[in-house]
């Protein structure tokens, strides 16, 4: 009978696989991320390169509305660098003492200024498709980092028999294999200050360090704290077990 339970458990574990076999997209590639695992943390130089990719490419279509410019100090930018990035965008502020609203350069306290005023404008500029906000993308898809990395590196030529909707691009990792987002990364499209060659693969990895950070900025703290908590709990539980044995000794 226990075996039956085992089989049922196995089936339950396979359930997600069954669900996704229905989509015709390829399963995402597997990548080793520096932020996975018990000791995982962000690769900060890569995250800074990723910021550059974000600013040059993704940020022209996608918003990042939960991240503030001041947060960039957490990945190692200086205050001046972050201020400069902020100041290249304008935000509406006011009312001033005359009661008027006005535009001013964004500052450290502001959140990333979205590239479009609203969803309609974003759709209009993207052939009707809406580029979703990227602040939580890392968590908003199954195996998010692997998936977005695969998506960014998954453009290519379709087999000749594929029917194409106008304005769509072939991508083997997107459900339905046709995506409205044009290939956002091209070899050498950014110049990295640290001299890292800007291949599509490299930029995709870098931008995911940035996006994973954007979604879970507290991940390094979480991992570090978890380690301390686990060590503490293991010691405490070991101790409690010893006490339990001692108390129960005369009963065995």
């Amino acid at each position: 009978m226990r075996r039956l339970v085992g089989v049922a458990l196995l089936l339950a574990a396979l359930a997600p696989a069954a669900v996704h076999a229905a989509d015709e997209a390829d399963p995402p590639k597997r990548v080793q991320w520096s932020f996975d695992g018990l000791f995982g943390t962000f690769d900060l130089p890569a995250a800074r390169r990723g910021l550059q990719v974000y600013l040059d490419s993704c940020g022209t279509c996608h918003s990042l509305r939960f991240v503030a410019y001041r947060n960039l100090l957490e990945i190692g930018l200086t205050g001046d660098e972050a201020k400069a990035i902020a100041a290249s965008h304008e935000v509406r502020d006011g009312p001033d003492e005359t009661g008027a609203y006005f535009m001013r350069p964004a500052g450290l306290a502001d959140r990333f200024v979205p590239p479009f005023a609203n969803e309609q404008a974003a759709r209009f500029a993207n052939g009707g498709a809406y580029p979703p906000d990227l602040s939580l993308m890392y968590k908003a898809r199954l195996r998010g980092a692997d998936y977005v990395y695969s998506l960014l590196t998954g453009y290519g030529d379709p087999s000749p028999d594929v029917e194409f909707a106008p304005g769509m691009n072939y991508n083997r990792y997107f459900p339905g294999r046709q995506i409205a987002m044009p290939q956002p990364l091209l070899d050498g499209m950014v110049q990295y200050a640290d001299g890292t060659p800007a291949t599509v693969d490299q930029m995709a990895r870098d931008v995911l360090q940035f996006l994973a950070w954007a979604a879970e900025p507290y991940l390094p703290v979480r991992h570090r704290m978890g380690l301390g908590v686990l060590v503490y709990l293991l010691l405490l539980t070991g101790l409690l077990y010893a006490v339990k044995r001692a108390v129960w000794r005369d009963q065995h």
Partner: protein
């Protein structure tokens, strides 16, 4: 029969002097505690680690309430503000991520613990005379937990929140005659929206405390006839029991340790493993997600709901699936409690557990192809188990002989263990002292 001549199993009243004595004379709180979880509460000496799960459920509830209160201080229950306020908690509130991940994963573990607790009761027949009301209180808490968790899941106002709420509230529209009115009242409008969100927030906060209140009544009922035990036989005298403190306080504390380790692994290293990625997409009334699925702990019920092609039929099946549990003390016609002595029921127990797991698997899969058939078969079996097999097996099966008492069974067990150990170790075993060894007479 559990007579009440077991009043005097222990004599560990505490006598207090000074300030504590002054308080105790006016409000006998120290003896009250001591009688509840102290040296004066008798517990069958043979209960195994499955008896840890009741107190674990209590701890899980406390964790939910404490983390929930912190979250409530920063949460904004509006359609525009809810999603962003949760993100603000995660990013800008000090250790907000810790509180939120603890609350979300705490709910999952709470269900895991309560389900184990419930299946423990099914295995050892703990729902039988004289613990029927205790069982009912547990079931009412379970239904309240399901309601509370469902409403809580709506609060972050992500895609799954919104569409989950839409699917489930729509079920009320299936009610004959009053359906449409009921739905209008529930929604406070013509779709799921902010009015519903605010209502759910209010109830989510409230219900946890209703559960807490019921948990106290649950324990009150427990203490009337004490815990059941793996043998399913009654306490016959002082040699069968141990005082709760220190024996079970320390055992429960050790259980908490294990629980917290599992909890920490989830919260710190896999905080989103049990959740749906779609709930990190803000609610969008214009875009239905490809698969609308509830959290894992509601999947078996979801499968039962969908097993009936008709909406009203599904709701009735779901309600019956929960209600039938209330009748289990009477559907089970066997006088023997523990499955240990019930060769056929024991098999049925494992088959039933497998059936529930299969329902969970079906509930998480798209409702198409073979899943429909499997879900329907598993649903039918769920009811056959309770309504047909349980009554019949109790009559037909011949149970194996029950031990004379808990104490003799424990002595036998210890002898067997020592016989296995002795040849290698060669140390004389210390004699078993029976019940009174823990507290002085």
């Amino acid at each position: 029969m559990a007579g009440h001549d077991d009043e005097h199993l222990l004599h560990n009243e505490i006598k207090l002097l000074g300030v504590l004595g002054w308080v105790e004379y006016r409000l006998p709180i120290f003896n009250w505690i001591n009688n509840a979880v102290g040296t004066n509460y008798p517990t069958p000496k043979n209960v195994n680690y499955f008896w840890n799960f009741g107190s674990l459920a209590g701890i899980a509830l406390v964790i939910q309430i404490l983390t929930g209160i912190v979250l409530a201080a920063h949460y904004v229950p509006t359609a525009d503000g809810a999603f962003a306020s949760v993100e603000r908690i995660m990013r800008d509130v000090n250790y907000g991520w810790l509180f939120r991940y603890a609350h979300a994963n705490g709910a999952s573990l709470f269900f895991a613990v309560v389900y184990i607790h419930l299946f423990r009761n099914l295995y050892y027949g703990s729902y039988k005379y004289p613990r029927e009301l205790l069982w009912w209180l547990g079931l009412i808490m379970l239904i309240l937990m399901i309601t509370t968790a469902f409403m809580g899941y709506v609060l972050p106002w992500g895609q799954m929140s919104y569409w989950g709420a839409t699917v489930i509230t729509n079920l009320f529209g299936a009610m004959p005659i009053i359906g449409d009115e009921l739905l209008l009242w529930l929604w406070g409008g013509f779709t799921v929206g902010e009015v519903l969100l605010r209502g759910f927030y209010s109830l989510h906060y409230l219900l946890a405390f209703v559960i807490a209140g019921l948990a106290i009544v649950h324990i009150w009922a427990l203490h009337q006839h004490r815990s059941n035990n793996p043998l399913g036989i009654d306490i016959k005298g002082p040699q069968d029991i141990l005082p709760f403190h220190p024996y079970f306080t320390v055992k429960d504390l050790f259980g908490f340790g294990i629980y917290l380790i599992v909890f920490a692994l989830l919260v710190f290293y896999a905080p989103n493993m049990l959740g749906e990625p779609d709930n990190y997409i803000p609610a969008d009334p214009l875009q239905t997600p490809a698969h609308i699925v509830p959290e894992w702990y509601l999947l078996p019920f979801y499968a039962i709901l969908r097993a009936v092609p008709d909406k009203l039929g599904g709701v009735i099946a779901l309600a019956l699936a929960l209600l039938v549990l209330f009748a289990v003390p009477w559907l089970d016609t066997s006088k023997v409690r523990s499955a240990r002595f019930r060769p056929i029921y024991k098999q049925l127990f494992w088959i039933f557990l497998a059936d529930v797991l299969i329902l969970g698997w079906v509930g998480g899969s798209p409702p198409e192809g073979m899943f429909i058939t499997i879900g329907q078969l598993a649903t039918v079996y769920y009811f056959v188990h309770f309504l047909v097999l349980l009554p019949i097996v109790g009559k037909l099966e011949s149970p194996t002989p029950l031990p004379d008492s808990i104490a003799t069974a424990v002595l036998e067990e210890n002898k067997r263990k020592k016989a296995r150990k002795l040849p290698q170790v060669g140390v004389a075993p210390s004699a078993s002292h029976g019940a009174s060894s823990g507290g002085g007479h």
